[in-house]
Homo-oligomer: 343 residues x 2
């Protein structure tokens, strides 16, 4: 009989928590006991998983005994407050918050890129930032051909990156526009329907946002490339799901476009989607509700003979968050997801 | 008495043509005779300008006699077919199509950047591509401080860049989504509501689109910098009006952020709009229906000590097309627009 694993989910009723449950179901993950935790507002709610009804409870320090894994889909504060209890209970905490991502003792893992780091965990593994996961997935095949020297990145980030209330606000604003009503933003600092907003996160002294700096800070740690420089501009766009990212990069050696395409096609978790003549290129429209990062528009930079320009889209709630966390767990126990979503 | 000028508009009923009329009115341009030309479908339509009613006619080779200027807001083919007749009639043809932009004998002009080129015209002046105008306006102050060596550009282009039918399609698609109806794209290759499309124009052999190559080809001509390399990714976003552009550039010498901000603030036609702490940065929401190019999010690149990253937004139907054409005309006759829109 297949071994089953006892799983807890912190923040089970949020955007990422619900997606984690969906992914566990889709992957037919061998779940034994399942404990769903959420904030006070959600206590008592029921969620059906693999045909069985589960009730949401509030996590307490003693809630984690006999769990194999706890998947975290909460804020940094909540993640921090439960970490020690989870580790003490000998469960492995795979956390999607940014609380521990840059902690030297905690691996930051994309399973297709640095699975070996996951094995060095001391009870906690951090799940990277969503845009960082998608961008690194797109360029890692290139990095393996020849070291990337520098990367200029701009993002087109979907509203669901701000949680379930993001798309709800976009949807309400679209309806208001269609019915000629007034818009009052709550989640985003300005109306997002018919607009783009060049701010995600808060501003740092260097003029970059917290979100923009994640690309370089987390990218360096995941790729083990402390020397890698990444400039990033993060922009919110009126899209429900799937971030898109434009990348221009320079490699140590000159690469042919054919070699780059082959590397991307051969990279687990990537789909080369690059036939401009047939109007085939990655778009949010195509890449939502699945795990692959689509990569296309691959061409030589006009700035540098060693330069490559490309464009990618991927579902940031799945591969950028929930699926990546579940895939880390599967790597640890030596399971491959059914349907080959990871490769 | 102020001298008046006889003006013809080719394509007077289209998005840019109508905007040209609006700009002429707003600037209180001294229009003498006004002749409005359009395609067969629009003949007989009436348009009110400065309180007087004008009827649209079809342009014939002999339609341009006694005109001082013809503003072109048509396709390349139509622009080409009338060019010689306009020049023969001794009117100056200021054309917004891309037909003549790279012609060596025809100046390509942004009046705040290369007004001297306009004076060398032999009867025809080309109005540059909309994104190119906005991007060059944003960076020209920097170029004057220290030569730009390379520029990586990504755009967030509004649907009105595709003519009046673009925003109409977006609006119809938004209504369809709100009312749970099916979407069938006509103007754009895919649904644009809740999506972003990394294709504007058609694809060239080097993998770039025609729209993307305009940034480098036209930028070199306008700045008189045949050595300037610009890599560009152009993306359509669900916005009605105003393109936004992310730019990362490297200058010959290292510049301080203060010097860059001062140069942009002092540049005619630009508005420095850069106070992140107060959430003040350029957005389509702010920059539509006016002529200034808003520039913000100015910061040091993380890739190069001589690198600058910035973000700009501007109304591409106005400064990116109609206003720029009218401003060229005003430069030629030594008029400044009322209200200081140009400076």
């Amino acid at each position: 009989m297949q071994k089953k694993y006892n799983i807890g989910i912190l923040g089970a009723t949020g955007e990422v928590g619900r997606q984690m449950l969906k992914v566990l179901e889709e992957y037919q993950f061998p779940v034994g006991e399942l404990r769903l935790f959420a904030s006070k507002n959600s206590i008592g709610k029921s969620i059906t998983f693999q045909g069985k009804e589960y009730f949401v409870t509030e996590a307490k320090p003693e809630s984690f005994t006999h769990l194999d894994f706890v998947l975290g889909a909460t804020s940094n504060d909540i993640a921090r407050s439960y970490k020690d209890s989870i580790v003490k209970a000998k469960a492995i905490f795979i956390d999607n918050s940014s609380a521990f991502r840059l902690d030297k003792d905690i691996p930051l893992v994309i399973p297709e890129i640095n699975p070996e780091d996951a094995l060095k965990n001391k009870g906690v593994i951090a799940n990277p930032n969503c845009s960082t996961i998608l961008a690194l997935m797109a360029i890692h095949g290139i990095e393996k051909l020849s070291k990337i020297q520098a990367m200029s990145v701009t993002t087109y980030q979907a509203t669901s990156g701000a949680g379930a209330l993001g798309p709800q606000e976009l949807s309400e604003q679209m309806a208001a526009i269609v019915h000629n009503q007034k818009i009052e933003p709550h989640i985003f600092p300005y109306p997002i329907a018919l607009n783009v907003i060049p701010q995600i996160g808060s501003f740092l002294d260097n003029g970059y946002t917290t979100e923009e700096m994640k690309m370089q800070n987390e990218g360096r740690k995941i790729l083990h490339r402390e020397d890698l420089n990444i400039s990033c501009t993060c922009v919110r766009v009126p899209v429900v799901r799937s971030h898109s990212i434009a990348i221009e990069l320079i490699t140590e050696e000159e690469l042919s476009i054919e070699a780059v395409k082959e590397a991307i096609q051969g990279h687990a978790g990537c789909r080369l989607y690059d036939d401009p003549e047939q109007k085939l290129y990655p778009m949010p429209l195509l890449t939502s509700n699945q795990d692959l990062v689509y990569v296309g528009r691959i061409r030589k930079s006009l700035l540098h003979s060693h330069g490559i320009v490309l464009w990618c889209s991927g579902d940031q709630v799945r591969k950028g968050a929930a699926s990546n966390a579940v895939q880390i767990m599967m790597k640890l126990i030596g399971l491959e997801p059914l349907g080959g979503s990871i490769c």
